[in-house]
């Protein structure tokens, strides 16, 4: 069994949690329980899903990477060019692609490798090495609550991620509370409340007031009830809107006033469909708030999320989890090796 959150105290007894959490769950949510019974090593399922999605992409574009990596495939300029195209089309970006290929060429020359399959595993391990520093598990605070702030551009999937994570934490035996900090978008509060109802966890919201006030309230409430994790939503914003970035900093400051050290985690939610702008987003949000992690969503489409390679090279903010589908089972820890494999699949 995996978890994105680890308690410092070795509490959270896994064995007896599953049945109790099943009772608090609505009937429809049987699927996650099944997944939890399965060992964590079923990452193959996710890989397969990713690959089957990618297979379609390949068919359409006719750029069959597989042929590049066949045993005995001849490695020449055209081979490298095809590889370059594959990386570019995965949103890896011009700079990071060049850097990766340069490393690969040098190693190939030095070690006299000119077999496609051998170079593939070499690139895969180089990519995995690049991504490995991004692996991370969130550690829950000894003294509850652990306050997690979710930020990101509009439509990245903040609220949905909170909903899924809440479910995951509940299954893990944690008490969860949600803070409806998106006070701007129409029905954002209702959206979070719907997740709250589905998971039967309290949602703190205000009829009026700004997100800082909502989160301040929520922290106090979480502390009073001894809730272990508080997940705080915020409105989506583009980092070019400086006054909105300033507002986030205020939320962060105010959270710190309610509870020293809060927010303990500031997570940027990133849509895997995003192109090169993702790097700008990471930079801007990190400069403003000091990010502690990323969440990459919507990896179940045909987008590959290759921008993570560029992020790893420029602003290595760790990835705390990735979303590869609609159900809870599709919330996955980030494993560099797997991700690298999926990128080159």
């Amino acid at each position: 069994m995996f978890s994105f959150f680890r308690s410092r105290k070795s509490s959270a007894p896994p064995a007896d949690v599953a049945p109790s959490s099943a009772t608090t769950q609505p009937a429809g949510a049987a699927a996650p329980a099944i997944d939890r019974a399965a060992p964590a090593s079923d990452g193959g399922g996710w890989l397969q899903r990713l690959r089957s999605g990618l297979a379609r992409t390949r068919e359409r574009l006719g750029a069959n990477l597989g042929s590049l990596f066949h045993l005995g495939a001849k490695v020449d300029e055209a081979w490298f060019e095809q590889l370059e195209e594959a990386l570019l089309m995965a949103d890896v970006g011009v700079t990071a692609t060049r850097r990766l290929l340069q490393g690969l060429r040098e190693t190939a020359r030095r070690e006299q490798i000119n077999d496609g399959a051998a170079l593939r595993s070499l690139l895969s391990s180089q990519l995995a090495d690049l991504l490995r520093p991004l692996e991370r598990t969130i550690v829950l605070q000894d003294a509850p609550p652990t306050v997690v702030l979710f930020v990101g551009v509009n439509g990245a999937g903040k609220t949905t991620s909170i909903g899924k994570l809440a479910q995951h934490l509940l299954n893990d035996g944690q008490q969860v509370m949600l803070a409806a900090g998106d006070t701007f978008r129409a029905a954002a509060v209702e959206q979070l409340r719907a997740w709250g109802e589905r998971n039967q966890v309290p949602v703190i919201s205000q009829a009026q007031g700004d997100s800082a006030a909502v989160i301040f309230d929520a922290i106090n409430s979480a502390r009073a009830r001894g809730t272990s994790v508080l997940l705080a939503d915020t409105a989506g914003r583009l980092p070019t809107q400086l006054h909105l970035m300033e507002e986030l900093r205020k939320v962060q400051r105010v959270a710190g006033k309610a509870l020293g050290g809060a927010p303990h985690e500031v997570l940027l939610v990133l849509d895997a469909n995003t192109g090169q702008n993702a790097l700008a987003q990471v930079r801007a949000f990190d400069d403003a708030l000091g990010l502690t992690g990323l969440i990459v969503t919507k990896l179940d489409g045909t987008a590959k999320g290759g921008i993570l390679a560029a992020i790893a090279a420029e602003r290595p903010i760790p990835v705390v989890f990735i979303g590869v589908g609609e159900s809870l089972a599709d919330l996955r820890p980030f494993v560099a090796q797997e991700y690298a494999e999926a990128l080159l699949a």
């Binding site: 992409t57 359409r60 954002a188 469909n273 700008a280 987008a303």
Partner: protein, 450 residues
């Protein structure tokens, strides 16, 4: 972000200087730079390749106009071709049918369909249309509620639906309602869906068949990367799209997805979404988008951004004051700084400037920071001092420096800059015009760094 095509090309162009004709050989390097620029703007690779090929064919043998160097000639060709690809002119909505004219919204999750539906409703309402909104998104929690709230804010009718209904049934009922209640337009918002989700794609096809929309708009996030081609192709195959809406264009993404989608679907981009407020829907300008994708600076949008950010009343007050021959004081200076911040700060303004101009700003300095410092110094002054800067003598300056945490020299520097600015304002009031002022500005900008 300042690393734009024009700047990049300038090094390549140097080798081209003096050649009167573009040849396969002498444009190869330059085209490579164009390719990189397009890829960095997230234009999908297959689209980039086709585009470069087309430009190469046109460029080879082209004579270079006397006033241009070969590099400039190439850039202007690239720009022209890109504009053509984006669609030469703006295309509006087609609502010429027996009412209700149905508009169907389609796209990925989080692309901005619901927000765009609201914006579209507002636009049509202003055009004196009677609009009905309906949400067929039975999946995302509170999506229906979101559209209901938007409709309420806009004063537009919303057909009630609920999450336990079928999307096709909702759309059909809404159309029947619109028909009997004399609505001119029905906007059907749908759930976000993945192009590879066959069940969901079949669902939207069924909705399409049920309401027979005259406009089927594909909503695309301007920040989308290479996958835009796949998604656009799948949606285009599943649905007879009639147009594209490009959203979140108020960010700093170069928006290459626009080109990918336009190329794959062949459908015009009808609107662009800027900002989350309901009035943030604008017609698409192919020319501006081409400049933006190429990183050539978006001066027109800069001007619009400036106009939006400026508090008109405040600006008029200042203009009146200057016209009346009154002195421009530090209080006014401060309000100007605040206006600048409202426009998104220097960084965001600079990104929209073309390379040459942006390059003229001193590099490596944090302009936001130095501006904040200037504001801090002014804040440390009393109102009296701001109104009559002549009061500021050594001891007051020391107090201000201590109060704002800077050295006295910085206070002096600020006052010098301020004096220059005052002179400029005087020039303006005497009718010297903008040109004179711009010349004055040129000397000033580098000094801002403090």
């Amino acid at each position: 972000m300042l690393e734009n095509l024009t700047q990049r090309l300038s090094t390549v162009v140097r080798t081209l200087r003096g050649q009167a004709r573009l040849t396969e050989a002498n444009i190869a390097d330059a085209l490579r730079e164009v390719r990189i620029a397009l890829l960095e703007a997230d234009v999908a690779l297959p689209v980039v390749k086709d585009f470069i090929q087309a430009v190469r064919e046109q460029a080879v043998g082209m004579e270079v106009h006397q006033s241009l160097n070969p590099g400039q000639a190439l850039i202007s060709l690239v720009h022209k071709e890109l504009t053509k690809l984006m669609g030469d002119q703006a295309v509006g909505l087609n609502l010429a049918t027996t009412p209700p004219a149905v508009i169907l919204m389609a796209g990925l999750q989080g692309s901005g369909k619901t927000t765009t539906s609201g914006k579209l409703a507002r636009l049509l309402k202003e055009g004196k249309k009677k609009v009905l909104l309906v949400s067929a998104d039975v999946y995302r929690p509170a999506a229906i509620e979101q559209l209901r709230v938007l409709g309420e804010q806009l004063g537009v009718d919303v057909f009630p639906s609920s999450a336990d209904q079928q999307p096709v049934a909702i759309a059909t009922a809404a159309r029947a309602y619109a028909l009997t209640h004399f609505h001119d337009v029905l906007i059907v918002d749908t759930a976000g869906r993945l192009a590879i989700d066959e069940a969901m794609m079949a669902e939207i096809q069924a909705v399409h068949a049920a309401v027979n929309p005259i406009e089927t708009l594909f909503v695309v996030d301007a920040m989308q990367g290479q996958d835009a081609v796949n998604v656009a192709r799948a949606f285009n195959q599943a649905l007879p799209l009639t147009g594209v809406v490009l959203t979140k264009l108020d960010g700093d993404a170069r928006g290459g997805a626009a080109l990918s989608v336009r190329q794959i679907t062949g459908r015009p981009i009808k609107f662009v979404g800027v900002g989350e407020k309901v009035d943030g829907l604008e017609p698409f300008h192919p020319e501006r988008m081409a400049s933006r994708v190429l990183g050539m600076g978006d001066v027109l949008s800069l001007i619009e951004q400036a106009q939006k950010g400026v508090d008109v009343a405040e600006a008029e007050k200042l203009a009146k004051k200057i016209k009346a021959g009154k002195d421009f004081d530090l209080e006014d200076f401060k309000s100007q700084l605040q206006q600048m911040k409202k426009m998104g700060g220097i960084g965001s303004l600079m990104e929209k400037l073309p390379g040459q101009l942006a390059g003229a700003m001193p590099a490596g300095q944090d302009h936001e920071k130095s501006l904040a410092r200037v504001e801090g110094i002014i804040n440390a002054m009393t109102v009296q001092e701001r109104r009559f800067p002549a009061l500021l003598k050594a001891s007051r300056k020391r107090r201000i420096a201590a109060g704002s945490g800077v050295q006295v020299q910085e206070v002096n520097r600020l006052l010098n800059q301020f004096e220059q600015m005052q002179k400029m304002m005087k020039m303006m009031s005497k009718g010297g015009g903008l040109a004179k002022m711009m010349r004055g500005m040129k000397g000033m900008m580098p000094g801002m760094g403090g």
